[in-house]
Each structure stands twice: as structure tokens, then as C-alpha cells.
Amino acid sequence: MRPLKNEETVLVFTKLKKYIGSNVRALLERSDGLYCFRLHNGRIYYVKEDIMKFAATLPRDNIVSLGVCFGKITKGGKFLLHITALDFLHPYCQNKIWIKESAEQNFMYGNHVYKSGLSRISENTPKYAGVVVLSSKDIPLGFGVAAKATAECRHADPMDIICFHQADIGEYVRNEEALI
């Protein structure tokens, strides 16, 4: 477990910024205590500072997870967000997509969101912006990247991809082994 290096911090925050914009500040300046990002086993964890300090006294090899895992730094040097970060992306994110009930299952099996399954999209979503995908009942289902801007969506064909899939909550069942 160690604090992030400069370049790692840049990687993480640029990625987060795609989803939650300037709300990245809100992750660090919280009223209920100090929170920090830590790297452990190649994974980035977002954790309260006193918990982190307590965990630092434990043998490193035996710690499996602490706080919330946000994602990992790939061997290619990119930062990959995991589905476990959804809890923190959802309340702060600026662009959202709501999908129809019929398309929920499809998305939760790891498919992209098609125009036919689109129910609503927040206004002024630019192309390639990070979006959180919600069900018709406002349950966050995952996140992805908008393949089309809001204006383009209106004229899209039913089978056009609206949002590229990145992570979905189906992974908790599908992919439990490699969740973090």
C-alpha cells in the first residue's frame, strides 16, 4: 500500500473527471473526515484516512481490500475504472442515460446500449463523454461512454449504439473472481 505517484494521480483524476467533472473535489473534501487514494496490489483504493492508517499495521500480503476499489492501473499504463466505483460516480456524474426495462437485462450481460433500448438521455451530453447508465427505476446499472451526442441520438437508427459499455453491475455475479 502506498500513496499514488504524480503521474498515477494524473491518470486517475483525468479519468474520473470524464465522469464527474469538477465534482472530483467533492471526493477529497468531505465533511466526514479525510479520504485518500492508495495503491495496493496494482489497484487504486479510495479509503478514509484513519482506516488506511489502521490497515497499514497489518501485513501487506494479507490485505485483500480496503475501503472502495476504484479501478486498476493496467500494464499498458492506463487507468481502468471498475464497476465497484459506481457508488461514487453515480451521485456526482453529469451525464446520465436511462434505459428501457426491456434493455436492462441486455446491458447487464455486458452489451452496449442501442437506440432501441434508450429511454432518456440527459441534455447536452457531448460525444464520448462518460455516462452512468440507469434503469427506468433510477437504479444505477453501470457506466460507459456516450457514442453519440444528445442531438445525434434523435435521428439515430434503432440499432445504432448510443453508449459503449464499460462496466455493469452484472459483473458482481458474472465476474466475481476478477472483480478487483
Binding site: 466526514d32 479510495y46 479509503v47 478514509k48 484513519d50 482506516i51 489502521f54 490497515a55 499495521t57 497489518l58 501485513p59 494479507n62 490485505i63 485483500v64 481490500s65 480496503l66 475501503g67 472502495v68 476499489c69 464497476i83 465497484t84 457508488d87 436492462e104 447487464m108 434503469s135 427505476k137 437504479i139 444505477p140 446499472l141 453491475i169 452484472g170 458482481y172 455475479v173 466475481e176 473472481e177 472483480l179 478487483i180
Partner: protein, 595 residues
């Protein structure tokens, strides 16, 4: 300009629409082999003998005909519930005419989903109960013979809000009926004893039983014998055959039970040590049935009412668990919905969790901002419950030795949105050295032989032997000491350890607690649960500490939950108590004397 079809070329397909032929009639077996007389089974012969006896009894006392009829039926009913599977034809007719199928079904449904019911009611519901059957029979019988009396009583229940005079009359009448019933019952009991003596339940000798099991075990026959033996054992001095010892009966009973329910002898002996014959049968029957599926609402993400509405909208029938604010019980799931893969589940709004695993957490009663350790946490049902109660404040350290199971733990924690956790994979015993006196509360849900959850895992029936139990017990003792050592103590507020197992064996429960009481300065405090039987203070050769009765035991047959044990310990001071006398004094004035 259509082309005319060439019908002549078309081959014939099948026998044609109207060619269906009726099948040959099937005659009932009775009409087929009328000529050869059917051989009666052993049970039937006994029943026939009883019937002749009864007829003789009726002949000798003709004026008391009504009563005799009733008692007769009661006797039948009693014996039926005790020792027989089927009714003879006449009685069967009477029975079926009278039974209100609806009510029976209702009670069954109730049993299936009734959770957290007190002993008595569940006994009644189970329908296997001795008295239950007796009463039913009694009512039916009277309903048939003297309609006037009984008819009145039935009305009585319905029309309570009549005039005062009527009520008085009815009251008198009901008292009369009660008296009558009492008399009848007494007469019936007497008759039962008498008949039992006369007939004498014949149980073959141990050698014969063993021989039979080796040759060709006949399960219905064994089941009948189990009930017979239980009947004899219930009032041994009166019902036994002359010259046969209790141990012989018990040996036969044990042998039959282990064959019928397919347990190994070791486990069955242990169980027989704990329960009486009738209760043991109830316990074993309860193990054959699955427990109802329960789920726990994640209060960090939703509320129970909202979740229940969402699930009902998906076609999943749920009902609230009355004694918990977060529990839901699942009555029925439609075929196309998996409870563990709904969007609500994946969004972390609930977790599948047995009703019994709510209770250790309720006993632990963590407060916000505390440091809590869960030593054997996987798959995380209890520890996520703790985190939800603490509302993501403080800290919870979850540990499990098994790396593979830790993965499930990680998944559940992230799915449920818990942020205050550290998940480790350590040997739990190491915590005493790693983090001495670091926690406010510790939950130790120790690994055990699993004798309380046989309905979940049938392998326990045959796979456990003395060595397994001893091994479990040893690990549990070490873990409990480690748990005590990793708790620190503030002024009376903190320093609690919950020890729970899903086993019902004394070796893994009371014996472990007793060991901890000797080795560490702790005392048992009330768990705060109003469920379950108290722990054993005296059990066979063991004499445990008197405060052991504050522990709680739950059995599958009495509460329709998994069997488990829970004890709450409070740490008084560090170190080892010097003498038992010192400890006794400590407990009296609760003063802290560090050693």
C-alpha cells in the same frame, strides 16, 4: 390460374385425424385378482386384531356405546399418529369426509413460512404431534356420533356476539362439553393403556433388526418401527415388553433412525444424547425440509418497504419478518426470475441470508463509530449487516482464512456499498498477536461441523465423526481466545465478543465457552435475543458454569430456522484469571483487577 394439387401423389401421413382409438380400459387391481385372497401385512394384521378387540369391548358395554365409539376413534387416531402410516378403509372414509382440506392446507402453508414461532405453536402446526392428531380425531368422531352437542360448540365459536342469555347458556353448555371431553379423554387414555398392554407392540430383537438391514432394508417398515419404539420409550415402564431393557430398545431405535434418515451412527448417538425420542424425530424430519428463503434489506441503499414493492412488481412474493426491521421472507419466485440476479440484488439493495444469521449481529449490537472485527466473515452476510447498522462509520475488519471465499466477501462488500471495511485473509488466531486489544467488538462465527444446517448440506449426515468434532472444537477454542485477546475494554461500554456456530453439539458450543471462561477473564452476558432455548448448564457428565443459561440455542424444528448457538461474552480484564475464586469475586462486584 392456380395449379391443381396432385392429391394422388401425396403419401398418407399418419393414421388420420379421426383415427384416434380409445385405450383399453384399466381395471382396478381389486377386481382383477379377486379369486386369490390378499396377504395381509404385519400392520394390517395388528389392526385387525385391534378391531376385534374393540368389538368385543363394545359388546361387553352396550349402554356406553357413544363414548366407546369416541374413545375407539381416539385410540385409533393416537395409534395412527404414533405407529401407523395408513388408516383402515372405514376410518379413512370418515376422516376424509370430515377433514376440511382448506384449513389443513392453511396450517401447512403457515408452518412452511412461519419463522420465529414459539415452541408450542410450531409443534401444533407440524401436525406430526401426538396430541394434535388426537384432538382432531376426537372432534370428528363426536361430530359424527352425537351431532347435537358438538354442532353447538362449532356454532359457539362463530356467533360470539349474541344476547347475554344465549351466551350464558352457551357458556354452560361449553363447560358441560369440556367436562364430557375430559371424561372421554381420560377414558380414552385408560383404554389406550389397556389396549397397548393387551396388544403389546412387538419389536423384533436387535439381531433381527440388524439382519434385516443387511438383507433388504424396508423403509416403510422401519419408519413404522421407529414410531413404535418412540411410543414405547415415551412411557417405558408401562409399555415395554417383559424382560427387555431400555438400552436394547434404544439400540434398535438408533439403528433404525440411522438407516431411515441415513446418518452415521456417531452423529445419531450424539443427537440421541441431546433429544428425547419424540423430539429427535421432529428434529430429523425438520432436517429433511428446506428452510424458507430470507433476504436482508441493505439499509444503506434502500428501505424495506420500497424493496418489497419492487420485488412484488417483479412477481416475487415477499413478506416481512416481524421480529427484524430489515428481513423479508420469500414466499414464491416465478420461474423466470432468479433471486440472486435481479437488478435490485445487483444494485446491492438486498442480500440472501438465512434468518438465523441475523441473530448474532443483533446480539452484537454494534454502535456507530466503533471498531469491529469479524473473524470468519465470508461470504459477508453478517459483516455487511454490521456495517449497515453502523451506517458506514467507524471501521470493520473482515477476515477469512480461505482466499477463495474472500473473493465473495469483496464482491458483497462492494455491491452493498460498504466503504468502512478492511478485508483481510489471515488465520484468525493471529489477531491476538497482530492487533491485541484493538477492537470494541468481535464477532466470531466459528467454523463448525454444521450439524445445525443439515437441511442445507446433507453431507454432514455421514461425513462427520468424533475426530472432526474434536478438531472443530479445538480450533474454536483457539479462535475464541484470540477473539478475546483482540478486544479491548472501556468503562463498561465496550469489549464484547459474540461467539456463534451453526452447530448444535455441546462440544462445539458450551464446552468452548466454558474453556474461555477458565482461560480468560470474561463473563457471559445476556444476548438480548428473545428466541431460543437457554444453553445447557448440566449436560450428561458435564457441569458448566451457571451463567451458561444466558447463551441461546435454536433448533430447526422449533423455530423453522437453521440450528445455531450464540453466546455473548464481556471482557472484564486482560490476562488469565488466577483462580476460579478470583473470577467469582470479579463477577460479583464487576470490579476490574488487571492481573
Amino acid at each position: 390460374m392456380g395449379r391443381a394439387a396432385n392429391f394422388q401423389d401425396k403419401p398418407k401421413k399418419g393414421p388420420g385425424r379421426k383415427a384416434r382409438k380409445q385405450k383399453d380400459p384399466v381395471f382396478p387391481r381389486a377386481t382383477n385378482d379377486e379369486d386369490e385372497p390378499k396377504k395381509l401385512s404385519r400392520r394390517q394384521r395388528i389392526r385387525a386384531r385391534k378391531r376385534t378387540l374393540k368389538q368385543e369391548a363394545v359388546k361387553t358395554n352396550p349402554p356406553k356405546k357413544m363414548k366407546k365409539m369416541n374413545t375407539k376413534q381416539k385410540v385409533d387416531g393416537d395409534l395412527d399418529s404414533e405407529g401407523e402410516h395408513q388408516f383402515s378403509s372405514d376410518e379413512m372414509e370418515e376422516f376424509t369426509n370430515n377433514i376440511k382440506t382448506n384449513s389443513v392446507e392453511e396450517t401447512q402453508a403457515k408452518t412452511k413460512f412461519a419463522l420465529f414461532e414459539k415452541d408450542g405453536s410450531s409443534d401444533e402446526d407440524s401436525g406430526g404431534g401426538n396430541e394434535d392428531g388426537e384432538e382432531e380425531n376426537d372432534d370428528f368422531g363426536v361430530g359424527n356420533e352425537d351431532e347435537n352437542d358438538m354442532g353447538f360448540q362449532d356454532d359457539d365459536d362463530d356467533d360470539d356476539d349474541d344476547d347475554d342469555d344465549d351466551e350464558k347458556d352457551i357458556e354452560k353448555l361449553s363447560k358441560k362439553i369440556e367436562k364430557k371431553e375430559k371424561k372421554k379423554r381420560a377414558a380414552g387414555d385408560a383404554y389406550l393403556e389397556e389396549s397397548a398392554e393387551k396388544i403389546g407392540i412387538q419389536i423384533p430383537s436387535l439381531e433381527e433388526v440388524q439382519q434385516e438391514d443387511e438383507d433388504s432394508p424396508d423403509l416403510p417398515n422401519i419408519n413404522a418401527r421407529i414410531k413404535d419404539t418412540a411410543f414405547v420409550l415415551a412411557d417405558f415402564s408401562k409399555r415395554r415388553e417383559e424382560g427387555r431393557s431400555r438400552s436394547e430398545y434404544l439400540a434398535i431405535f438408533l439403528k433404525d433412525l440411522s438407516t431411515y434418515y441415513s446418518y452415521n451412527t456417531f452423529l445419531m448417538e450424539k443427537l440421541l444424547d441431546m433429544f428425547g425420542p419424540t423430539e429427535l424425530i421432529e428434529f430429523l424430519e425438520a432436517n429433511e425440509l428446506p428452510r424458507p428463503v430470507t433476504i436482508r434489506t441493505n439499509t444503506l441503499k434502500t428501505r424495506r418497504k420500497v424493496l418489497a414493492t419492487a420485488l412484488i412488481a417483479r412477481g416475487i412474493d415477499v413478506d416481512v419478518i416481524t421480529w427484524s426491521k430489515v428481513g423479508l421472507i420469500v414466499m414464491r419466485t416465478p420461474g423466470n426470475v432468479t433471486l440472486g440476479a435481479t437488478p435490485e440484488y445487483l444494485a446491492g439493495q438486498y442480500i440472501l441470508q438465512g434468518a438465523s444469521s441475523f441473530l448474532p449481529v443483533m446480539a452484537l449490537a454494534p454502535k456507530e463509530g466503533e471498531k469491529v472485527l469479524d473473524m470468519c466473515a465470508a461470504p459477508g452476510g453478517k459483516s455487511t449487516h454490521i456495517a449497515a447498522i453502523m451506517r458506514n462509520t467507524g471501521m470493520i475488519v473482515c477476515n477469512d482464512l480461505n482466499r477463495d471465499r474472500v473473493k465473495a466477501l469483496v464482491g458483497n462488500f462492494h455491491r452493498m456499498g460498504i466503504t468502512n471495511a478492511v478485508i483481510t485473509s489471515h488465520d484468525g488466531r493471529a489477531f491476538a498477536k497482530l492487533m491485541p486489544r484493538a477492537f470494541d467488538r468481535v464477532l466470531l462465527d466459528a467454523p463448525c461441523s454444521g450439524t445445525g444446517v443439515i437441511s442445507k448440506d446433507e453431507r454432514v449426515k455421514t461425513s462427520k465423526d468424533l475426530k472432526d468434532v474434536q478438531r472443530c472444537s479445538h480450533i474454536q477454542k483457539e479462535l475464541l481466545l484470540a477473539a478475546i485477546d483482540s478486544v479491548h475494554k472501556f468503562d463498561g461500554q465496550n469489549g464484547y465478543i459474540i461467539y456463534s456456530t451453526c452447530s448444535i453439539l455441546v462440544e462445539e458450543n458450551e464446552a468452548v465457552i466454558e474453556y474461555a471462561l477458565k482461560k480468560r477473564n470474561v463473563k457471559i452476558v445476556p444476548t438480548g435475543l428473545d428466541i431460543g432455548k437457554s444453553g445447557y448448564v448440566r449436560y450428561r457428565q458435564h457441569r458448566f458454569h451457571p451463567s451458561m443459561q444466558l447463551c441461546k440455542r435454536v433448533y430447526p424444528h422449533s423455530y423453522n430456522m437453521d440450528g445455531f448457538f450464540v453466546a455473548k461474552l464481556k471482557k472484564l480484564s486482560d490476562g488469565v484469571p488466577k483462580t476460579t475464586q478470583d473470577k467469582a469475586e470479579d463477577e460479583e462486584d464487576e470490579s476490574i483487577t488487571p492481573t
